[in-house]
Amino acid sequence: MKEAQKIFSRPRSLRNISTHYCGGCGHGIAHRLVAEIVDELGIRERVIAVAPVGCAVIAYDYWDFDCSEAAHGRALAVATGIKRVRPQNIVFTYQGDGDLAAIGTSETIHAANRGENVTVIFINNAIYGMTGGQMAPTTLLGQRTATTPAGRQIGVHGAPLKISEMLALLPAVKYIERVSLHSPQEVLKAKSAIKRAFQSQIDNLGFSMVEVLSACPTYWDMPPKKALDWIRDVMSKEFPLGRIK
């Protein structure tokens, strides 16, 4: 009889503690994917993460490598400072839609336009989770939130902001892909995209970003399964998946 072999375990870069995330939230999966890629690329000892303000504010408690906080929206300015001083390190930010595409839009666009050789993991769940479900720049039209109780209306609130497509216009942006976490197949694609983004930085190509469509069952007011189906059937129609640049 063959001895049992361990073929699946917690990544070295992920600490062995429970997260604070709600049931069905995508952050746990996204954290794990980043940790798996950091392990696979063998960069744990030279990676430096910049955590956001938002639900993932304590991402540094979950990852087991060097991390900094950043003020709300400022992660890419902080990452710029770190990477310019230590170009040999692998620097990435992990940011939500409010952080990256509302309060931090300026920092995002200009870091991308300078071609900062950093990687961005952009979690798009179309809502502000941490503060109680307010409208995000990426909230879909008609979507009800704490601050759009009658649903988002284009004439009042504007259309969902497609920051990935906007950034793709900039010459110094080298890699952008939009992925989703709504099924195991999509999670595997997301993992490949994250790996390509980090590899792009390792190869010194310039700015790289992966936009991850991620469920927020709590503030979408849906059971987890329905939230995943909503990404597949509704959200990914507004935010089409695939390589953008």
């Binding site: 430096i48 304590i58 900094s68 003020a71 902080v78 990452a79 400072g81 001083v85 230590r86 920092e107």
Partner: protein, 374 residues
């Protein structure tokens, strides 16, 4: 590196205060600068753009003052001596970042070449940001250490102290000048780096990309050690209070050790003019003119605005029983005045002479006011 013979040749160079601050920062080992254009400090940013790359450092023109201070946060996380500069409205924008730097206990230097306010104000010199500089400025219970040079030479020299204090206490340090200091040209003698923090060895400046063994907390990648985390966020019950108590302990030590001032004729003065920065230059002139007329005037010039040199004020009466009045003069409507009154605790009479919004009290104004008091 300049050769020895070349160093001998260069005895004094003519520079603006803005340029002297930039050169002082580079000579003090600053290797990361981010800034956004704003008058009257633009020569500083341009000097950094010109000279930082040759010194092995990084210059970034940021998209905003907000981005600049957060770039400094990042560069400081990564272990570099880091700095940004701006003028009053831009410094208001940086307050968020300064609060985070204080909360995360990162060293950083912020230069404010003050202009008239409030609002967009104007580009004339002013000292109206004293409250903002010395009371924290951003949210939370914190202090920046605040240095106030009054000459181009001192602006250069204090940059060494600024970086040493920032590293030693892991605290933001603000260098507070004004539009006159930034724009005026004076002869400057450049010096080599000696640590000006008591009992501390000078921090060796390392080129970009090298690890600094003196900053074990820095983010350099966790090779051979446990991961480092830099944060100000403390959600666990009691954690934020603990951080605040640690900060207060640090501030107490800074208050005890780092207060600095310059004084003239404290022992026999009947009136002491109190001023800092550019106003102290004018006050010094006025004291000289009053003395020439046989009037016993003295000067007290705080060099550190926070910590405020309280002790010298508290000891004045014991040192000099003839002293009756202090005349505080500022390019503001009485901001440092409050610290002088707090230090004296009602024991001596305090008068005030101030103008702002571009107005600068003159030597004659001071002499006239002092004459009325004497």
């Amino acid at each position: 590196m300049k050769s020895k013979s070349r160093q001998k040749e260069i005895k004094k160079i003519l520079m603006t205060g803005n340029e002297a601050i930039a050169q002082g920062a580079i000579d003090a080992g600053c290797r990361f600068y981010a800034g956004y254009p704003i008058t009257p400090q633009n020569e500083l940013t341009a000097y950094m753009a010109r000279c930082m790359p040759d010194s092995g450092g990084v210059f970034v023109q940021s998209e905003s003052e907000v981005a600049a201070i957060n770039m400094v946060f990042g560069a400081s996380c990564a272990g570099a001596r880091s700095m940004t500069s701006s003028s009053s409205p831009g410094i208001s924008l940086k307050q968020e970042g300064i609060s985070y730097i204080a909360g995360a206990e990162l060293p950083a230097v912020v230069v404010n070449i003050m202009r008239g306010g409030p609002g967009l104000g104007n580009i004339w010199p002013s000292q109206s940001d004293y409250f903002q500089a010395t009371r924290g400025g951003g949210h939370g219970d914190y202090h920046s250490i605040v240095l106030a040079p009054s000459s181009v030479q001192e602006a250069y020299d204090l940059m060494f102290l600024a970086f040493d204090l920032a590293d030693n206490y892991r605290n933001p340090v603000m260098v507070l000048g004004d539009g006159i200091l930034g724009q005026m040209m004076e002869p400057l003698q450049v010096t080599s780096h000696k640590s000006q923090v008591t009992g501390q060895k000078a921090v060796v400046c390392l080129p970009i990309g090298k690890a600094t063994s003196q900053k074990t907390w820095a983010l350099t990648g966790c090779e051979g050690r446990n991961p480092n985390i830099i944060k100000s966020f403390r959600m666990k019950e009691g954690d934020l209070e603990k951080l605040n108590l640690a900060l207060q302990k640090k501030y107490k030590a800074i208050r005890q050790k780092e207060a600095r001032f310059e004084s003239l004729f404290l022992e026999d003065a009947k009136i002491i003019i109190v001023a800092y920065g550019t106003m102290a230059r004018i006050a010094k002139g006025a004291v000289g003119m009053l003395r020439a007329k046989g009037k016993k005037a003295g000067l007290l010039r705080p060099i550190t605005l926070w910590p405020f040199p309280e002790k010298v004020f508290k000891d004045l009466q014991a040192r000099n029983s003839k002293l009756k009045t202090l005349l505080v003069t500022e390019m503001s409507y009485g901001q440092m005045l409050e610290d002088v009154k707090l230090a004296l605790d009602g024991k001596l009479k305090v008068e005030f002479l101030g103008r702002a919004g571009g107005g600068v009290p003159t030597e004659e104004d001071i002499i006239r006011k002092a004459g009325k008091i004497l």
